[in-house]
Amino acid sequence: MANTKTVVPFTGTAEQEAKLCEVIAAHKGQKGALMPVLQGAQEIYGYLPIEVQKMISNGLDIPLEEIYGVATFYSQFTLNPKGQYKISVCLGTACYVKGAGDIFNRLQEKLGIESGMCTPDGKFSLDACRCIGACGLAPVMTINDEVYGRLTVDDVDTILAKYR
């Protein structure tokens, strides 16, 4: 689930924090300030970990729970960073009937993470997606811009090894 708390250690920089403070200052006191600030924060950090949400809570004087509630309500927000290699498995109808579910499970098992999460070393993130228009190659997954088609469960290990 995309809302699972991240296992990747926070590595925010002072520069990012200064940027976030600017975004907060620009919206502080306005009605409905939280949404644009969350969007800005996600743009700066790529995701919304507890460290960032606490900064927003302090800055806007909004309870942390309220912020977390909004962040987990909208699918545009994520609590997990994207990895150096973004793995996306198509679970659209064609891929699914060709066994994409098994491939997805194998990836979860090999990487030790669930859908929407990122490995602790920041290397791989895993997401499920819908049809990417390559049904002829089903089942399909992408790693960054690379497309892998006609996959079998056994292919997963060899493909991952390339990126390790």
Binding site: K5, I62, P63, E65, E66, G69, T72, F73
Partner: protein, 584 residues
């Protein structure tokens, strides 16, 4: 100004109702209580649960009565077949994910969902059974348990926490079928800055939030022949306990309460009021000292453990302003385990002090640091029960509460004054302190003991009194959202006070998080805070002794043990310290 009225029809009958009413309010004029689940006056008008739906002539569909305003000529039908069917289906849908544990549920008998299911004859509890999420029960906090499996997502707790208390540690997480009430990042309650006030408990319509029941621990102590089990009851319990036995709101049951506690088997039935009087003499002494010696001002009262925890989490810079006095509950326990234990020849390790409190934060308070005057490992108070828990004990013991004779507290720690009785209402501590401080500084008996400016249920009250040479500016606050507002004004220098009383719950202890639960149908239409408070002010007026420093038992205790007010020994036994806590 005369209220502007509109003419409407409810179920065919004509009524004239104030223009700014909702349909829900207007229906009360017709003697009709439209059922609600999510609606809570002033803080939770969100029209979400759909139980209050009614037909309005000309409207496209059923409308939510709790948020729909009346208009001239409106025709409303509250009980048609269509309305009843809709409400019944809504109930069945709520039940589809509700953990139906109704036989033993703590709220069985006063559960709002259970009552509605009964009223609407929901005879198939499993009509829409399906996928059922299992939520982990959060019993991490010392004072309460949250069980999302019984939650109906009405958000009344969320509103109480965020709007009354300005805290917001619980709220809806995720969306759709996964929506559930929890803390940020799914942390447990004991990991976040919850102040333990329990306002979420008293507004919950079901058994999803409840105090951590400690009645079995008390029964175990009562059944142990080696233990001396001493009970003390807080000032406000006498004004509310009757409600748990169907008596009208605001009935003073002091005598029946003492009788019931004796019948349960407590060895001594004492009154926290005595310790409230001790709090006043210590606090008034501390205040006079601070004024004389240029100490930190404004001084802020420390009786309310919810407020104390709030201050430690959210305003740690104000800790030096807190009075170092322990709360009455803790002063009482400390005195029992020192002075009284010596007097009785009891081993302090064999004493079990039970507090009956209007408050769930008292459960947190008993296990705080520096609340063990009789020695390390010997807490001043062993168990703090809420009003609801003691009512449960009375029920289990088969005691016919309403038929009991009025009995007295035991001597000597059952003696009290009018000043301590009013501790249970917002403004009561301030008034009691003023009675004593004014008399001490003035050096002559007060002619007028009533300080009425600090009475009433307004969230923030201010007054100025001439005490000796000093014009004392005081403020009285209840509800932590109000406290936040006031503290910000104090910090910015906008307001200048000498003495501030803060109680964590709106209206003070009479409306505490440990008090009997009243359903929304009562809460939304009856002013619980003032009716319960009136019982205390009436009791004060009926007392001959109305000033704390005149309490004869208190004078004996100081003469025999503590010496002067504010003495070194009094400081060691009756005062405490505070800790800075994190906001997250």
């Amino acid at each position: 100004m005369e209220k502007e009225m509109v003419n409407i029809k409810i179920n065919g009958m004509p009524f004239s109702v104030p223009k700014d009413s909702t349909i829900l309010e207007a229906a009360r004029y017709a003697g009709i209580q439209i059922p609600t689940l999510c609606y809570l006056k002033e803080i939770n008008a969100i029209g979400a649960c759909r139980i209050c739906v009614v037909e309005v002539k000309g409207a496209r569909s059923l409308v939510a009565a709790c948020v729909y305003p009346v208009a001239e000529g409106m025709e409303i039908i509250t009980n048609s077949k269509k309305v009843q069917q809709s409400r019944k289906i809504t109930l069945e849908l709520i039940l589809s994910t509700h953990k139906k544990e109704c036989l033993s549920c703590v709220r069985s008998g006063n559960c709002e969902l259970q009552k509605l299911c009964h009223d609407f004859k929901v005879d198939d509890e499993h009509r829409y059974d399906g996928n059922n999420p299992e939520w982990p029960k959060d019993d991490s906090a010392v004072h309460m348990v949250r069980d999302d499996n019984k939650c109906i997502l009405c958000r009344r707790c969320v509103a109480a926490c965020a709007k009354w208390q300005g805290i917001g540690v619980i709220g809806p997480n995720e969306r759709g079928f996964n929506t559930h009430i929890a803390c940020a990042f799914e942390q447990n309650l004991d990991e976040v800055a919850c102040v333990s006030c329990g306002q979420c408990i008293v507004v919950c319509p079901t058994g999803a939030i409840y105090e951590k029941d400690q009645t079995d621990e008390v029964w175990a102590a009562l059944n142990d022949p080696a233990k001396h089990v001493v009970v003390q009851t807080a000032p406000s319990i006498r004004a509310t306990l009757g409600e748990a036995f169907g008596m009208p709101v605001g009935t003073n049951v002091t005598g029946k309460m003492a009788a019931a506690l004796r019948r349960i088997g407590f060895e001594k039935v004492f009154d926290t009021d005595l310790a409230a009087d001790m709090t006043i003499v210590e606090e008034a002494h501390e205040f006079v000292e601070r004024v004389k010696n240029g100490g930190v001002l404004p001084m802020i009262t420390s009786c309310s453990p919810g407020w104390i925890k709030y201050c430690e989490h959210y305003h740690p810079d104000m800790i030096p302003n807190l009075s170092t006095c322990k709360s009455p509950q803790q002063m009482f326990g400390a005195t029992v385990k020192t002075w009284y234990a010596e007097k009785m020849g009891w081993d302090k390790k064999d004493i079990v002090v039970v507090g009956v409190m209007p408050c769930t934060a008292k459960k947190f308070e008993v296990q705080r640091d520096d609340e063990d005057a009789a020695g390390s490992g010997i807490p001043d108070v062993d168990i703090a029960l809420t009003t609801r828990e003691i009512a449960r004990m009375i029920d289990r013991a088969g005691i016919q509460f309403t038929e009991l004779p009025d009995e007295e507290f035991d001597s000597p720690m059952g003696e009290s004054t009018g000043a301590s009785v009013i501790f249970g209402a917002t403004g009561g501590v301030m008034e009691a302190a003023l009675r004593t401080a004014a008399e001490w500084v003035g050096g002559k008996p007060l002619e007028q003991v009533e300080f009425t400016d600090v009475r009433g249920t307004a969230g923030i009250k201010e007054a100025s009194y001439q005490i000796g040479d000093l014009t004392v500016n005081v403020a009285v606050v209840s509800g932590l959202a109000n406290a936040k507002k006031l503290l910000e004004q104090v910090k910015s220098g906008m307001k200048n006070y000498h003495f501030i009383e803060i109680m964590g719950c709106p209206g003070g202890c009479v409306n505490g998080g440990g008090q009997p639960v009243q359903p929304a149908s009562v809460r939304n239409f009856v002013d619980l805070k003032s009716i319960r408070a009136k019982a205390l002010y009436d009791a004060d007026e009926a007392k001959t002794l109305r000033k704390s420093h005149e309490n004869p038992a208190l004078l004996t205790i100081y003469k025999e043990y503590f010496g002067e007010f504010g003495s070194h020994l009094a400081h060691r036994i009756l005062h405490t310290s505070y800790t800075e806590r994190s906001r997250f």
